[in-house]
Assembly symmetry: C2
């Protein structure tokens, strides 16, 4: 089975078996952000993967987009030019086979729920921390979509007058705990603490990216650890609200920014325990089992289960 996970900067295509083992992987960086370029690259890479899996009956796509109720049309897409695109039918025609599409975080939670960090849970949440924050809801064992686009857990307001968010609101969880926040706050900490490894990296002319902050924090630089701790604390405040709203068994944290691991998750758990209502204080907060491949694997599962 073939699954595709499309992010804001890159595309991951995988050929997986029913046990969710990946036999073949293709990574591509977007060549450009014109709609036609994006759609052409999708087709090109999928055809390459299909050469390795000619028996695949259907293809599954996870895209960072709000979907309509039928999961046929992308309604709104912040990082790719897909808004208004009848993605399912268009891809199905170009690939000459059935296509299944869902929001990328829904795909990731599906994979984690089947065989990963949320296995066995009837009620679970997933947040994918990357360029933005994607989210998904498992309710009574099934992905929950509301009228179609439920699960945007990164776009709850946690600071009424906070930083502007890409979505047009202010102070969304995404503005205090996603990858770009590590870079932004890392840059600030580098300026304030020139003696730190972060400060020295800046003085040496290196770009302060989220990945660099995570790397230096992993090496024990206090300034970098402080940036990630603070983001984790704010993430935890958001998770406390979600724990009170959903009373889930587990909250799974994935996406590139979750590479910070326990440096991020420990303060998040502590803040959740401080803020959540009693019965929700023990909600488990754990890292995605499938890491960056959860979305791709979930898309492949959707393709496999396409009737």
């Amino acid at each position: 089975m073939v699954g595709i996970d499309a992010g804001g900067t890159k595309l991951l295509v995988g050929v997986a078996d029913e046990g969710l083992a990946v036999h073949h992987r293709l990574h591509r960086v977007w060549r450009g952000f014109e709609r036609q370029e994006v759609l052409d690259l999708f087709v090109e890479v999928v055809e390459e993967a299909l050469a390795e899996a000619p028996e695949a009956a259907a293809v599954g796509f996870g895209i960072p987009s709000l979907m309509d109720a039928d999961r046929a049309v992308s309604l709104e897409c912040v990082h790719l030019p897909l808004a208004g695109v009848p993605f399912r039918d268009l891809m199905s025609e170009r690939l000459d086979r059935p296509v299944v599409v869902d929001n990328d975080a829904n795909c990731a939670l599906l994979a984690e729920s089947r065989a990963g960090a949320a296995k066995g849970a009837a009620d679970a949440l997933m947040l994918t921390l990357g360029t933005g924050i994607g989210g998904a809801i498992l309710a009574r064992g099934e992905l929950y979509r509301g009228r179609g686009s439920a699960g945007e857990l990164g776009h709850m307001v946690v600071e009424l007058d906070g930083e502007p968010c890409h979505c047009g609101s202010r102070g969304c969880l995404e503005t205090v705990a996603s990858g770009p926040v590590f870079a932004r706050e890392g840059g600030r900490a580098a300026g304030e603490q020139p003696e730190s490894a972060l400060g020295q990296a800046k003085a040496a002319g290196r770009e302060i990216t989220g990945a660099l902050v995570t790397e230096l924090a992993g090496e024990g630089d206090a300034a970098a650890v402080g940036v990630i701790t603070e983001a984790g604390r704010k993430l935890g405040a958001g998770l406390a609200g979600l724990a009170n709203v959903f009373s889930p068994e587990v909250i799974v944290i994935g996406g590139g920014a979750s590479a910070a691991g326990e440096l991020l998750l420990r303060p998040a758990r502590e803040e959740l325990a401080r803020r959540a209502l009693g019965p929700n204080r023990d909600v488990r907060v754990i890292a995605a089992h499938f890491g960056d491949e959860a979305g791709m694997l979930g898309a492949a599962v959707m393709a496999l289960e396409h009737r």
Copy 2:
């Protein structure tokens, strides 16, 4: 059928028919907040109601409490001394008949969903604005409880470093948009605008309550209107997050503080439309059809449907 809705200050018991018409009502104010006093008043008032409805097979209770998964035990209860009480079995024994218990906001949403503002909706939310904010979730046509106590929509953080909340966190939605907020902000506005009706009421020695602010706003006092508009705006920011998370058909607003009506709901809708993601901007935000009786009616419905 007999339904009871217990709030932080009072108790409402009703005898209703299957069409949700109320034939008999009893209001009582708590005599005291010792556990035994509270439980005794429950029994006394229900027995009085049962004298009017001797055919009632079961009795339904809505209590402002987090419930365990079986809805038998109150896990946490901010306004009444019920935490840890095996409420269902205890009441069943004292009343000598089956008892059904749920969170009061769940009861309210059940009634609104059956015959009120959320009739026909598969996916809906309810917020009851009173001394605190209660909440409930209807997902795919059924009340959603997660591990037992889901739906605490008033305890999402909307201001990371906001006012302390009764729940132990800070900056919960409850701290910016519930009844006591009208009183607190009304008192502030009265001091700042002594020429307003609100200011004159304060100067005349009247206590600035939420009800007074609502009354003066209804009469057009700009200071009072300003207080409710601002609370509505903050409520709307919280609702935008909920719209993004749930993508529901409708959000129903009930509880005593919703007596402010459109003065509160209009700014809430405007803020929701400004902040929510595109497909969620048109989520309907409407007043509870059954007003203050929704919780009692929903409790009665639960009793009726008790097998």
